[in-house]
Assembly symmetry: C2
């Protein structure tokens, strides 16, 4: 497996964040939030981890919440991108669903630290940032729901409750970020393959 | 639905914690940890929420970690108890698995605040407390794995990877605590029924 595959398809996470100092601060914030929680982390902690002064942090981010907002937005955009690339390919609904689950699971396993921060600190966002992130989450849901609806329409899937089944499929994939352990017995790809098979069963794929 | 059913089968959560002051402190700690995270919560915050002085807290709990340990142990013991009561009843492997999933999901939905603290703050426990809680988690896993193994042995289930499938089933149920919303469209019982059906599909129940 290449380094890019191990990081869930990303050769350089946060490459879009520039300049370099802003990116280092973001990476430091992810680590600090994951270790101690958002509320227990100070901007001083984050600056210290990045080897910078608190004053240098404020050049790039006005508040701690701005850091969380940026992490959460980029994290959701990446997850959505991974899902769309896989789920909108050629193939039957079953193939597209399997690909989408595999990619989404790989991303949550490989990027589990970012994913945990993004999932568990949602309530710490202010109202505007929260609304923006919730809109992205709805797009993520709609992507998976669309594939399931396609499969039901073509008779390939047998699903009584499309919304509930979509919720369960998303939940199963997202929770990989909670339990995944890099020292554990399974690679992100192996978890992805296992879960793709289980999800096809959940939708009653023929 | 009765009040006892709404609380996941518990008429009086934490009833085993005595005296009353110790129980009030525990309830206050769960709320504070869930809102702000373990590391951002002080014993002063917890005492204040319970309407007590910090000195009164130390009569019952020597440290903040002792509170988290107690919450985590009781939370895991309850979840294990709920699972065993349902999963060891009469009936086929499919009936027992459906009952176990339904009960476990109901508990995680109704007790989502406790369950979130228990799941997300595991790493904040000291080594001894952590080892004790991990042993309880292994028993929870073994309970579900045992039912799946029974079903495979009798030919009722078709499962290629029993450990992996057990992990996925547990993960699906536990993650209900993350997304469940008391103001949402589904009751704990409805989520339990939906999930019992999905899990029977995951194990290829005939």
């Amino acid at each position: 497996m290449s380094a890019a595959e191990e990081s869930g398809g990303e050769a350089q996470p946060w490459a879009e964040v520039t300049p370099d100092a802003a990116r280092r601060l973001l990476v430091a914030a992810v680590e600090a939030f994951a270790e101690r929680g958002y509320h227990a982390t100070t901007t001083r902690d984050i600056a210290g981890r990045a080897g910078m002064s608190p004053a240098a942090l404020y050049i790039h981010y006005k508040t701690k919440e701005e850091l969380l907002h940026r992490i959460s937005r980029i994290g959701h955009e990446k997850a959505l991108d991974v899902l769309r690339t896989a789920g909108r390919g050629e193939g039957t609904a079953a193939e597209r669903l399997a690909d989408a689950v595999r990619s989404f699971v790989c991303w949550h396993a490989a990027q589990h630290t970012v994913a945990r921060v993004v999932q568990y600190e949602l309530d710490a966002l202010g109202p505007e940032a929260w609304a923006e992130v919730v809109a992205l989450r709805r797009q993520v849901d709609a992507e998976v729901r669309g594939i399931i609806e396609d499969g039901v329409a073509s008779g390939a899937f047998d699903v009584a409750d499309v919304r509930g089944t979509t919720l369960a499929v998303m939940s199963l994939c997202i929770d990989v970020a909670r339990w995944f352990n890099v020292d554990g017995p399974r690679t992100p790809d192996e978890v992805g393959a296992l879960y793709a098979g289980l999800v096809l069963r959940m939708v009653g794929a023929k």
